[in-house]
Symmetry: C2
Subunit: 215 residues, 2 copies
């Protein structure tokens, strides 16, 4: 895919680089020359330009792109640019928002998808802080998710049958991460080892409880 990323702050620059690494053709735009120079080597094209200037956007051939991501925090600028891009006929315009009012306006002017990077990360970090052995967390429903939990010491050397998490905590083990190996939907006869990380699914409270579980 051809993707344009406008605004190369912490979020935009990492997005442009990750998309390039996934094999997409990336046009990175920022009004700040320094931001453009820093990214020039990791993307297909890097250009200094003002994203809210219609004539410049047309000259850059932005209408040829499959998707544009408006990644700057300035509320007025991002709304202006999203409106312009939809008027120019781009099929998919995504944007990041600072708060829910900003998101509401972006959606009204035609944004196809809006993300809140800081908020979504804050929710994940809040889950991880609460339970030190929860390495990472991925929300599936409001109070239900997938957690990556370091195997509790008391479980090392035991089989999945004997730790019996399904009945004790109503948590299912989906994967055992053992270094760079993944044991997907492991057999109940599998024995847990020190250093294993369990990828489990369950209620948030049950995942947090697994964290301080002493069998």
């Amino acid at each position: 895919m051809n993707i344009a990323v406008i605004g190369l702050g912490r979020f935009g620059s990492n997005l442009a680089t990750s998309l390039s690494e996934l094999g997409h053709e990336v046009l990175a735009i920022d009004s700040d020359e320094r931001a453009v120079q820093q990214i020039a080597e990791s993307v297909t094209h890097a250009v200094q330009a003002d994203g809210t200037d219609e004539a410049t956007l047309v000259e850059l051939g932005i209408t040829e792109y499959d998707l544009a991501f408006v990644a700057f925090g300035d509320i007025e600028g991002s709304i202006l640019m999203t409106t312009l891009l939809k008027q120019l006929g781009l099929k998919r315009v995504h944007a990041k928002a600072r708060n829910s009012l900003h998101r509401e306006i972006l959606e009204r002017v035609g944004a196809d998808q809006v993300v809140f990077p800081e908020r979504e990360m804050a929710i994940r970090v809040a889950h991880n802080l609460a339970a030190p052995n929860v390495v990472d967390y991925f929300e599936l429903l409001a109070d239900y998710g997938i957690g990556e939990v370091k195997v509790p010491e008391g479980f090392v050397g035991q089989t999945l049958t004997s730790v019996n998490l399904a009945d004790r905590l109503n948590v299912s083990i989906l994967v055992i991460k053992r270094g760079s190996q993944l044991l997907i939907t492991p057999d109940l006869t599998e024995t847990l080892r020190a250093g294993d990380v369990l990828v489990v699914i369950g209620r948030d409270s049950a995942i947090a409880e697994l964290d301080n579980f002493r069998p």
Copy 2:
């Protein structure tokens, strides 16, 4: 747990609120009165103060807290504060970083964990952009992860046995999300319905392929 969050920008304010919702006692601090007022109703205590002023921190009793999260983007301020908190004896000090150099310094002055909210979110969004039917993505290993993928139209009405993703794409279905219901490690006889979201595990390339799969 008692957790102090200093710096109530987009990330810090969402972190303080999420931690409060998870039932923790939260002290929220910011040097800007407006930020403090906005959060006052959703946390236990909200105080206007400068996080880099040692006398103020001691007066606030910050040493009584189990964990402090330094959530401001100002590099010098966050390094100063992290150093101070470790000198005052706090057991767990976490901080957010703007880039890898900032993270390196935070770790050297004693930060117990450092996150890059914008970078981590950018990686997730990059995976999601690449494949429109991939609703969300959670990295397990460098090129292997868990994806939430809207069920491809051609699969509706078919059983898991007949779509046979394991052999076709080397992707395993861990969960079927059906509205607010979760079918965990579903039976192979389960029939897929319109609107289902499949939580699958596999290589990044296989998850992206599932996105445009026409049986």
